[in-house]
Amino acid sequence: MSSTSQKHKEFVAEPMGEKPVTALAGIGEALGGRLESNGFDKAYVVLGQFLVLKKEEELFRDWLKDTCGANSKQQKDCFSCLKEWCDSFL
């Protein structure tokens, strides 16, 4: 089993553009729905939040947990996905 999922690989391979929030690794339908209801309807909005939190892992994971109830694995997947994307494109 690879350490990063297919979703992760696809996301970090190219600029995110207008991709929906469910394109993020770790964010499925349920979590995506909750994020959208909080106003985070696109992946780049979540990126914005990630950047405002200064790309700090602990802060971002806490925020994700509070906002959509992500569990530890989902938090970790989303964080590493965004971090790697930033490393390549930011």
Partner: protein
């Protein structure tokens, strides 16, 4: 302080800095997160404040080896600093060999105020090696010194107690502890020099 949601973004930012929490800007989407973090930290600080003091006292007294005495409530902060200026004390240990060893042997047979023992304690810690050489001379001379030094030492806690209250933090400045110790050591020196003959008499009696 209790109502974080009524505070402005600036105030929250300064609070976050105060608690040394890593944070980004406090904006609409991050505010709730930071309020939550501050609440957690503040409740933890309260718990930590109650727990820390006794344990630090225990550490101090365990190193003492002379006697275990109850920690005086006003003196919780004092033991921490005795450990700090043990480095400074070494410089004085040679100069004060004779009369300091007098005070260090004094602690065991006598029951006095706990503050006095704390004062003696740190000097005794430094001078255990020199204590043996002077023990015969000094052992017979505890009582006259005790009463005079007890009064001096009682003056010290009143002063330091007052100093501790307004500070708010747990630590007394090092320079202050040092000053108190110097004054106390000077007082002991004065007492000892003024009473030089009696030790000789006792020495004769013993032999």
């Amino acid at each position: 302080m209790s109502n974080l949601s009524s505070m402005s973004d600036q105030e929250l930012t300064s609070l976050l800095d105060q608690y040394e929490i890593k944070h980004g800007p406090v904006v609409g989407s991050t505010r709730k997160l930071y309020e939550k973090k501050l609440l957690d930290i503040m409740s933890k600080e309260e718990k930590r404040g109650n727990v820390k003091k006794p344990s630090s006292d225990k550490t101090y007294y365990r190193e003492e080896e002379t006697e275990t005495f109850f920690p005086h409530p006003a003196h919780h902060t004092a033991p921490i600093h005795y450990e700090d200026f043990s480095d400074g004390d070494n410089r004085y240990s040679n100069a004060q060999t004779k009369y300091s060893s007098v005070t260090s042997t004094k602690t065991s047979p006598l029951s006095g105020s706990p503050w006095k023992r704390e004062e003696f304690g740190d000097s005794s810690r430094q001078l255990y090696s020199t204590e043996a050489t002077c023990r015969n001379v000094s052992q017979s001379n505890p009582s006259p010194l005790t009463s005079s030094t007890a009064s001096a030492s009682r003056a010290a806690p009143a002063r330091s107690g007052q100093e501790k209250a307004p500070q708010g933090t747990r630590y007394i400045p090092l320079w202050f502890q040092f000053l108190v110790f110097l004054m106390f050591a000077g007082f002991l020196y004065y007492i000892f020099t003024s009473m030089e003959t009696p030790p000789k008499k006792h020495f004769e009696i013993k032999n």
